[in-house]
Protein backbone atom coordinates (compact mmCIF):
# COMPACT_ATOMS: atom_id res chain seq x y z
CA UNK A 1 0.00 0.00 0.00
CA UNK A 2 1.53 3.32 -1.03
CA UNK A 3 2.04 5.87 1.71
CA UNK A 4 2.07 9.35 0.24
CA UNK A 5 4.42 12.08 1.40
CA UNK A 6 5.68 15.55 0.62
CA UNK A 7 9.36 16.18 0.09
CA UNK A 8 10.62 19.65 -0.73
CA UNK A 9 14.02 19.62 -2.39
CA UNK A 10 15.46 22.73 -0.76
CA UNK A 11 18.26 22.89 -3.30
CA UNK A 12 15.75 23.78 -5.96
CA UNK A 13 13.20 25.88 -4.12
CA UNK A 14 13.40 29.49 -5.28
CA UNK A 15 10.53 30.82 -3.17
CA UNK A 16 8.40 31.50 -6.23
CA UNK A 17 5.22 30.79 -4.25
CA UNK A 18 3.58 28.83 -7.06
CA UNK A 19 2.72 26.14 -4.51
CA UNK A 20 0.97 28.75 -2.38
CA UNK A 21 -1.18 30.26 -5.11
CA UNK A 22 -1.85 26.95 -6.84
CA UNK A 23 -3.38 25.70 -3.59
CA UNK A 24 -5.41 28.90 -3.18
CA UNK A 25 -6.64 28.59 -6.73
CA UNK A 26 -7.55 24.94 -6.52
CA UNK A 27 -9.44 25.11 -3.24
CA UNK A 28 -10.49 28.77 -3.22
CA UNK A 29 -8.80 29.26 0.12
CA UNK A 30 -9.83 32.61 1.59
CA UNK A 31 -7.55 35.52 2.41
CA UNK A 32 -5.84 34.97 5.69
CA UNK A 33 -5.47 31.23 5.47
CA UNK A 34 -2.39 29.77 3.85
CA UNK A 35 -2.43 26.02 3.74
CA UNK A 36 1.05 26.13 2.27
CA UNK A 37 3.79 28.71 2.83
CA UNK A 38 7.40 29.03 1.79
CA UNK A 39 9.81 29.49 4.64
CA UNK A 40 13.19 31.07 4.02
CA UNK A 41 16.15 31.08 6.33
CA UNK A 42 19.16 33.38 6.02
CA UNK A 43 17.10 35.64 3.78
CA UNK A 44 19.43 37.87 1.78
CA UNK A 45 22.64 36.21 2.95
CA UNK A 46 24.83 33.47 1.54
CA UNK A 47 23.29 30.26 2.77
CA UNK A 48 19.79 31.50 1.97
CA UNK A 49 17.53 28.47 1.68
CA UNK A 50 13.85 28.15 1.04
CA UNK A 51 11.56 25.26 1.69
CA UNK A 52 7.86 24.92 1.06
CA UNK A 53 5.89 23.92 4.14
CA UNK A 54 2.41 22.62 4.65
CA UNK A 55 0.90 19.86 6.70
CA UNK A 56 3.41 17.03 6.79
CA UNK A 57 0.77 14.35 7.24
CA UNK A 58 2.71 12.87 10.08
CA UNK A 59 2.67 9.18 10.75
CA UNK A 60 2.00 9.79 14.44
CA UNK A 61 0.23 13.10 14.09
CA UNK A 62 0.51 15.36 17.17
CA UNK A 63 -2.62 17.22 16.09
CA UNK A 64 -4.63 14.03 16.23
CA UNK A 65 -3.12 13.15 19.59
CA UNK A 66 -4.29 16.33 21.30
CA UNK A 67 -7.64 16.89 19.64
CA UNK A 68 -10.32 16.86 22.36
CA UNK A 69 -13.07 15.83 19.97
CA UNK A 70 -10.99 13.34 17.95
CA UNK A 71 -11.86 14.93 14.64
CA UNK A 72 -8.72 13.68 12.88
CA UNK A 73 -8.25 10.46 11.00
CA UNK A 74 -5.48 9.00 8.88
CA UNK A 75 -6.30 7.34 5.61
CA UNK A 76 -4.73 4.22 4.17
CA UNK A 77 -2.68 6.53 1.94
CA UNK A 78 -1.20 8.02 5.13
CA UNK A 79 -3.00 11.33 4.61
CA UNK A 80 -4.12 13.09 7.80
CA UNK A 81 -7.58 14.59 7.42
CA UNK A 82 -10.11 16.01 9.84
CA UNK A 83 -13.79 16.74 10.15
CA UNK A 84 -14.86 20.36 10.30
CA UNK A 85 -18.21 19.29 11.60
CA UNK A 86 -16.63 17.92 14.76
CA UNK A 87 -13.99 20.61 15.13
CA UNK A 88 -14.65 23.04 17.94
CA UNK A 89 -11.91 25.48 17.10
CA UNK A 90 -10.10 25.04 20.39
CA UNK A 91 -6.72 25.56 18.83
CA UNK A 92 -4.92 22.67 20.51
CA UNK A 93 -3.85 21.15 17.21
CA UNK A 94 -2.13 24.41 16.33
CA UNK A 95 -0.21 24.34 19.60
CA UNK A 96 0.81 20.76 19.01
CA UNK A 97 1.85 20.97 15.37
CA UNK A 98 5.56 21.67 14.90
CA UNK A 99 4.90 23.02 11.40
CA UNK A 100 2.10 25.46 12.06
CA UNK A 101 -0.19 23.68 9.65
CA UNK A 102 -3.59 24.21 11.33
CA UNK A 103 -5.08 27.61 10.57
CA UNK A 104 -8.27 29.30 11.63
CA UNK A 105 -10.57 31.75 9.90
CA UNK A 106 -11.17 33.94 12.93
CA UNK A 107 -8.93 35.51 15.50
CA UNK A 108 -9.60 33.54 18.60
CA UNK A 109 -11.16 35.23 21.54
CA UNK A 110 -12.80 33.24 24.24
CA UNK A 111 -11.73 30.00 22.66
CA UNK A 112 -13.46 29.90 19.33
CA UNK A 113 -11.43 30.35 16.22
CA UNK A 114 -13.90 28.90 13.80
CA UNK A 115 -13.23 25.61 12.08
CA UNK A 116 -9.63 24.59 11.68
CA UNK A 117 -8.43 24.42 8.11
CA UNK A 118 -5.25 22.82 6.83
CA UNK A 119 -3.65 21.20 3.86
CA UNK A 120 -5.58 18.06 2.95
CA UNK A 121 -2.99 16.63 0.54
CA UNK A 122 -5.68 17.51 -1.98
CA UNK A 123 -7.64 14.57 -0.57
CA UNK A 124 -10.79 16.31 0.54
CA UNK A 125 -12.46 15.28 3.76
CA UNK A 126 -15.17 13.13 5.33
CA UNK A 127 -17.86 14.23 2.87
CA UNK A 128 -18.41 11.96 -0.10
CA UNK A 129 -15.69 12.19 -2.74
CA UNK A 130 -16.00 14.83 -5.44
CA UNK A 131 -19.24 16.40 -4.23
CA UNK A 132 -19.94 20.08 -3.81
CA UNK A 133 -20.36 19.50 -0.09
CA UNK A 134 -16.81 18.20 0.11
CA UNK A 135 -15.47 21.06 -2.01
CA UNK A 136 -17.14 23.79 0.00
CA UNK A 137 -15.61 22.58 3.25
CA UNK A 138 -12.31 21.03 2.28
CA UNK A 139 -11.50 21.91 -1.28
CA UNK A 140 -10.99 19.55 -4.17
CA UNK A 141 -10.10 15.89 -3.91
CA UNK A 142 -7.37 15.31 -6.46
CA UNK A 143 -6.32 12.02 -4.98
CA UNK A 144 -9.77 10.62 -5.68
CA UNK A 145 -9.45 11.93 -9.25
CA UNK A 146 -6.24 9.98 -9.68
CA UNK A 147 -3.98 13.02 -9.40
CA UNK A 148 -1.51 14.46 -6.93
CA UNK A 149 -1.49 17.64 -4.82
CA UNK A 150 -1.60 20.66 -7.13
CA UNK A 151 1.21 22.43 -5.24
CA UNK A 152 3.72 19.79 -6.23
CA UNK A 153 2.34 19.44 -9.73
CA UNK A 154 2.86 23.14 -10.40
CA UNK A 155 6.16 23.73 -8.62
CA UNK A 156 8.27 25.93 -10.89
CA UNK A 157 11.58 24.13 -10.49
CA UNK A 158 10.30 20.62 -9.71
CA UNK A 159 11.39 21.16 -6.14
CA UNK A 160 8.25 20.07 -4.29
CA UNK A 161 7.69 16.35 -4.64
CA UNK A 162 4.51 14.54 -3.67
CA UNK A 163 3.24 11.04 -4.16
CA UNK A 164 4.25 7.55 -3.16
CA UNK A 165 6.89 8.03 -0.48
CA UNK A 166 9.12 5.34 -1.90
CA UNK A 167 9.03 6.77 -5.40
CA UNK A 168 9.72 10.35 -4.42
CA UNK A 169 12.47 9.22 -2.09
CA UNK A 170 14.15 7.48 -5.02
CA UNK A 171 13.72 10.57 -7.20
CA UNK A 172 15.35 12.67 -4.52
CA UNK A 173 18.11 10.16 -3.99
CA UNK A 174 18.95 10.24 -7.69
CA UNK A 175 19.25 14.01 -7.45
CA UNK A 176 21.51 13.90 -4.46
CA UNK A 177 23.79 11.44 -6.20
CA UNK A 178 23.82 13.47 -9.41
CA UNK A 179 24.71 16.62 -7.51
CA UNK A 180 27.50 14.93 -5.67
CA UNK A 181 26.92 16.43 -2.26
CA UNK A 182 24.73 15.87 0.74
CA UNK A 183 21.73 18.12 1.04
CA UNK A 184 23.39 20.22 3.65
CA UNK A 185 24.07 17.22 5.80
CA UNK A 186 25.88 18.44 8.87
CA UNK A 187 29.61 18.23 8.48
CA UNK A 188 29.57 17.66 4.72
CA UNK A 189 31.47 20.81 3.92
CA UNK A 190 34.10 20.02 6.50
CA UNK A 191 34.58 16.48 5.31
CA UNK A 192 34.33 16.94 1.56
CA UNK A 193 34.92 20.64 1.10
CA UNK A 194 31.97 20.58 -1.31
CA UNK A 195 28.86 22.51 -0.68
CA UNK A 196 25.50 23.27 -2.10
CA UNK A 197 25.12 26.62 -3.77
CA UNK A 198 26.72 28.98 -1.28
Amino acid sequence: MARVKFLCDADRCIECNACVTACKNEHDVPWGINRRRVVTINDGKPGERSVSMACMHCTDAPCAAVCPVSCFYTTADAVVLHSKDLCIGCGYCFYACPFGAPQYPKVGNFGSRGKMDKCTYCAGGPEADLTSAEYVKYGSNRLAEGKLPICAEMCSTKSLLAGDGDIIASIYKERVMKRGYGSGAWGWKTAYKETIAS
Binding site: A2, T74, D85, G108, P126, E127, A128, G146, G163, I171
Partner: protein
Protein backbone atom coordinates in the same frame (compact mmCIF):
# COMPACT_ATOMS: atom_id res chain seq x y z
CA UNK B 1 -6.95 37.39 25.30
CA UNK B 2 -8.51 38.59 28.56
CA UNK B 3 -9.63 36.01 30.98
CA UNK B 4 -12.64 36.24 33.15
CA UNK B 5 -14.46 33.36 34.76
CA UNK B 6 -17.39 33.58 32.42
CA UNK B 7 -15.30 33.50 29.33
CA UNK B 8 -13.04 30.55 29.94
CA UNK B 9 -13.50 27.55 27.74
CA UNK B 10 -16.17 25.29 29.05
CA UNK B 11 -13.81 22.43 29.67
CA UNK B 12 -11.56 24.44 31.92
CA UNK B 13 -13.93 26.02 34.40
CA UNK B 14 -15.13 22.80 35.85
CA UNK B 15 -15.38 24.16 39.40
CA UNK B 16 -17.78 26.95 38.56
CA UNK B 17 -21.27 26.56 39.78
CA UNK B 18 -23.94 27.25 37.24
CA UNK B 19 -25.63 30.55 37.85
CA UNK B 20 -29.31 31.07 37.44
CA UNK B 21 -30.51 31.29 33.92
CA UNK B 22 -28.77 30.13 30.82
CA UNK B 23 -25.07 30.21 31.60
CA UNK B 24 -22.53 28.93 29.14
CA UNK B 25 -22.11 25.50 30.57
CA UNK B 26 -25.81 25.07 30.81
CA UNK B 27 -26.09 26.29 27.31
CA UNK B 28 -23.65 23.76 26.04
CA UNK B 29 -25.33 20.95 27.97
CA UNK B 30 -28.66 21.95 26.60
CA UNK B 31 -27.81 23.28 23.22
CA UNK B 32 -24.50 21.61 22.63
CA UNK B 33 -25.68 18.82 20.44
CA UNK B 34 -28.23 21.11 18.89
CA UNK B 35 -25.53 23.65 18.15
CA UNK B 36 -23.52 21.09 16.30
CA UNK B 37 -26.53 19.96 14.37
CA UNK B 38 -27.55 23.53 13.68
CA UNK B 39 -24.07 24.31 12.50
CA UNK B 40 -24.14 21.46 10.06
CA UNK B 41 -27.53 22.49 8.74
CA UNK B 42 -26.50 26.09 8.18
CA UNK B 43 -23.56 25.21 5.98
CA UNK B 44 -24.89 25.94 2.52
CA UNK B 45 -25.22 22.69 0.70
CA UNK B 46 -25.42 23.29 -2.98
CA UNK B 47 -26.82 19.88 -3.62
CA UNK B 48 -28.73 17.28 -1.76
CA UNK B 49 -26.93 16.99 1.53
CA UNK B 50 -24.97 13.86 0.73
CA UNK B 51 -24.28 11.69 3.70
CA UNK B 52 -20.77 11.88 5.09
CA UNK B 53 -18.62 8.87 4.52
CA UNK B 54 -18.63 5.91 6.84
CA UNK B 55 -15.51 5.28 8.84
CA UNK B 56 -14.11 2.73 6.40
CA UNK B 57 -14.93 4.89 3.38
CA UNK B 58 -13.04 7.80 4.91
CA UNK B 59 -9.82 5.95 5.38
CA UNK B 60 -9.76 3.82 2.25
CA UNK B 61 -6.90 4.46 -0.13
CA UNK B 62 -7.46 6.92 -2.98
CA UNK B 63 -3.96 7.24 -4.39
CA UNK B 64 -3.32 5.26 -7.53
CA UNK B 65 -0.68 5.43 -10.20
CA UNK B 66 -2.65 6.86 -13.10
CA UNK B 67 -1.16 8.31 -16.30
CA UNK B 68 -1.40 11.72 -14.67
CA UNK B 69 0.60 10.61 -11.66
CA UNK B 70 3.15 8.87 -13.86
CA UNK B 71 3.57 12.12 -15.79
CA UNK B 72 4.34 13.89 -12.56
CA UNK B 73 7.07 11.42 -11.67
CA UNK B 74 8.44 11.58 -15.19
CA UNK B 75 8.88 15.35 -15.28
CA UNK B 76 10.52 15.29 -11.88
CA UNK B 77 13.22 12.86 -12.89
CA UNK B 78 16.28 13.83 -14.91
Amino acid sequence: MTKSPETMPSGAAATEKPAAGLDRRGFFRVGGAAAVVAAAAVVPATEDAQASETASERTKARYRETEHVKNFYRVNRY
